[in-house]
Subunit: 339 residues, 4 copies
Amino acid sequence: MLVVMDKSATTEQIDYVIKVIEDLGCTARPIPGGDRVSIGVLNNKGPVDTALFTGLAGVKEAVPITKPYKLVSRETKNEDTLVKVGDVTIGNGFLTLIAGPCAIESEEQALTIARHVKKSGAQLFRGGAFKPRTSPYSFQGLGEDGLKILAKVRETVGLPVVTEVMDVQTFDMVEHYADVMQIGTRNMQNFSLLKRAGESYRPILLKRGMAATIEEWLMAAEYIMAQGNHQVILCERGVRTFVHHSRNTLDLSAIPMVRKESHLPIIVDPSHAAGRRDQVLPLSRGAVAANAHGLMVEVHHQPDKALSDGAQSLYPDQFDLLCQQVQAIFNVAGGPDPF
Amino acid sequence: MLVVMDKSATTEQIDYVIKVIEDLGCTARPIPGGDRVSIGVLNNKGPVDTALFTGLAGVKEAVPITKPYKLVSRETKNEDTLVKVGDVTIGNGFLTLIAGPCAIESEEQALTIARHVKKSGAQLFRGGAFKPRTSPYSFQGLGEDGLKILAKVRETVGLPVVTEVMDVQTFDMVEHYADVMQIGTRNMQNFSLLKRAGESYRPILLKRGMAATIEEWLMAAEYIMAQGNHQVILCERGVRTFVHHSRNTLDLSAIPMVRKESHLPIIVDPSHAAGRRDQVLPLSRGAVAANAHGLMVEVHHQPDKALSDGAQSLYPDQFDLLCQQVQAIFNVAGGPDPF
Amino acid sequence: MLVVMDKSATTEQIDYVIKVIEDLGCTARPIPGGDRVSIGVLNNKGPVDTALFTGLAGVKEAVPITKPYKLVSRETKNEDTLVKVGDVTIGNGFLTLIAGPCAIESEEQALTIARHVKKSGAQLFRGGAFKPRTSPYSFQGLGEDGLKILAKVRETVGLPVVTEVMDVQTFDMVEHYADVMQIGTRNMQNFSLLKRAGESYRPILLKRGMAATIEEWLMAAEYIMAQGNHQVILCERGVRTFVHHSRNTLDLSAIPMVRKESHLPIIVDPSHAAGRRDQVLPLSRGAVAANAHGLMVEVHHQPDKALSDGAQSLYPDQFDLLCQQVQAIFNVAGGPDPF
Amino acid sequence: MLVVMDKSATTEQIDYVIKVIEDLGCTARPIPGGDRVSIGVLNNKGPVDTALFTGLAGVKEAVPITKPYKLVSRETKNEDTLVKVGDVTIGNGFLTLIAGPCAIESEEQALTIARHVKKSGAQLFRGGAFKPRTSPYSFQGLGEDGLKILAKVRETVGLPVVTEVMDVQTFDMVEHYADVMQIGTRNMQNFSLLKRAGESYRPILLKRGMAATIEEWLMAAEYIMAQGNHQVILCERGVRTFVHHSRNTLDLSAIPMVRKESHLPIIVDPSHAAGRRDQVLPLSRGAVAANAHGLMVEVHHQPDKALSDGAQSLYPDQFDLLCQQVQAIFNVAGGPDPF
């Protein structure tokens, strides 16, 4: 349930509503909006009577929330969430481009690619230090050495960095180095990790699970937000279907659907959706045309020598063209559809 | 196998190659290209030795074709096929918009919508006279009366018309009235219908089956082309997946994949992919951004009263905006990707 | 809607109800049950008031039918349908084994296999004369010559025959020779073919479409039944999923689901589900254990030389074992679950 | 690569081969078989020349392993793995029934159900103390209190217990109480958890991910085995498809496929595959008929009051019937197929 306060509600009135909620054995989560405060009622073990609140001073209405998600929902907070990373803003009205190699391989590799993508127009740098690999015998990433290289990229090239965190044990370490922490597809319902992410002071980039419904995905974001971290960026990266001419099938409809249901920003990873270089450019244009708030793209200066996912990495000049085209399309399509 | 002739090959040389092929018990299908003739070897019951042809006068090379499709393939004919419907051209370099109601309901309805969509920028009118419906108790279309209304639209409003043909029995009738004949999703592997379509003098718009791979889809087009009708337009309309926030999942990667494998034009039906109005505009922009050669969109002036699929039909003013936006995106993205 | 008559309702009372239905512009379809008649109200263009019937003489109740299917539904007819083919009964309480090659190749091939499978325990012989093939260049079946061979098998070996009909044009011909007519996966929603099948005097074996829901499948059966042919056998043959260690994924849950929703018999085709010989035996046992009313299995005496689908055809001695095992399992599992 | 030693190879010869492998910078993993030792070469960063080993004393052959999995593969170890849990054996030749509630709710609930299922024939008791729930607001399990109840069940009723471990942080605690540790669907590619499981002294029951291929699933088992824990039980629990008459689609073909590729035991969870009580019995019979080594079934004495997944829990008398039927089917089908 959500208790929506009057615009003119006083601090005392808000505090009293919180007390009532807590006396019921529930958790109260105040959500400051643009012009009013709403208070989420969490952890209720069953239906709570709205009548308990509608009579209280300063309360506009009490909305029973039938969708299982609360904090991620537009019904809870209608204003679009804008996630700030240094000078970069991710969310409605902005087009954010994140680029870099799949895995950090060396300082030279990372700096070379970072300089390229910055010049092309990327605002954040991505690169994996801890790599979730299907095989235990594949390259698992440089670990903390990779994180240090990312920090060097930020200092030297001036791009904030996005990198994946795979578990609670290494969370503190990754949190120390990264600007945005990615939770990968395979961990979308690693609930222990989501809870830890909810306590982080960093924005979380949450990839959609390979077979996750929109509802399950938003509920994973809800786990993070329920712990207090509201800086969540959703990332569509394709779902698993019978189709095999691409590694996954990009679910373009997820973009309007998420924008309708949630106030959180949604970006697209065309590289993992396609799994092959020659589809990355059309999928990128398609995603921005469908109103994604940004893209996360794999770029490598020597894809044929990449230790991971080279086949789907763009060459730097391909990324140049991508930036020009998606910017032009954003100028046409960017912003909420009027209908 | 494909026998590629020299640019300077004479008619006699071509005829001799054809005779050799036919003596082998195979069918020879000459394919005039921009600057040379190639000859497809069809109906071979197994491998044919390329050496039989490479020594013949006027033959440049004999290419064994490993992909199961031949006539649809870029390996057989590299030049993009352009399908002409009156003054309209469908294919590479053009953006063709087809619009109209799901089903023809009355002359007034059809004319009203046709005038609207023409003004917005549609170049062809769509409307169903024979409707494949999941339930035998649902409205099945007006039949020949609907076809007559379509003819009236063409005469009065000046738009060529696209309509579905459901079986061989009514093929002649539909062929008489329509400018482009649509074969629907559920009939993509109705091989008897495909063969009849292959004998038609009309262009065929072939929708992808709900669970068809690209290869199966191209093989369905191959059935049509193998009978001699090379005017085939492919139409992606979403595939069935676990996802249920849209009726189907638009397979955006199919566009670059088909463009790479085949010379045939590919358009997109965002209305059946989405199944809901609020996703049609973003999917339309996404499809054009991914280099589709056109769109087929459901538009109705009174969607709430539509006899079929009203929930996914755009209002006329939404279609206006769609036309403006996709035209602008086509100016950015249209044309083959340089990579 | 369904009008359920009293057990003691007279012919005059029944006729009067039919007249009332027809005066409403609807179609009345009397459905004789074990001990009472029910009358389906078809082709209603919207809700019909149940009160119109509950007051009529001989009427027990009028049941609004919310599921889109009517005639196939247990709500319409609770008694299990038993389909009779010669001496063979297909339906609840029976285990029917249908076996034979994918395609009829020659009289010798057909007779050899038919004798084998009869000895092993098959009660019907299957074999394709018209073959739906993905490629126009693949073997398309022997056509009428194949049908004549099937007739010869019936006469000589004494097994009724099942064969596929692909279109309305050849329907009469196939109907003349076959005992049971199969409508294939790719034609499950070929509505013109379904309507023709509804007028046939032969039982129809209706395969599930590759991506069809249970509801769509039952609605396809409804098309047949709505034309008057109530002898329909459903055949589950696997659906298309992301899984690729089998050609399709056998949907075992379809068996209890169909048995619950419908009175029609449901059998399983493990050969097309698996697409590979080594899975046919376990899938066959699984299907019978889950209460399928029978199996349709591909058997070939020389699978390596089969013109079609050899890789999934059992050797005759494998089919022997299959018959023994599924009979033993049927003795354990056969019959409706008590819960 | 796998180095297969002679049956008569000495300890010195084996140790020397291990040294050669380690000098190459690889890891040597000796795998004792029934009558000979093989040595897996792990962590090789690229192809290793087989010729390096074939000349060494005591070496029979060096087999390049093209499948990405090694330790889980029948090529590495042909003998079926038998997992021992107290007096219970899980694997080829045995049918193991695991039953209990989804979640442990109280000591009384657990003991009541455990006594029931033991009497019916279950050999292990299952029950969740830590529950992965889609919503952060759903019941998350009793935690350590639940584990203590499980220990009480083992002592009082005499059944070993299976329970889920959700993360590395609580691994030691769960390991202390459980007899078999389950890794759930959503954690199948939680690689940090898999590595910790690989260091456990407990058998691991590894559920298949909702959209995992067989190869990805076996590679997840490989992660566990590569750390030294070879006691892994695989559990098929349905995959996500377009089908919605069951919660997931049981992939019956996974059973013969896994049995062919791997020596590890495979059991089936029909409750999560079905998601509804009325399909659990037929799916259970189907799984055993297809040669699963066991079942894990949800049973509750008061399903309507269950805190989690009550709709799919069997009543105790339904589980009675299940035990009788699957035992009878196991007598027919149990054991490897002769073909």
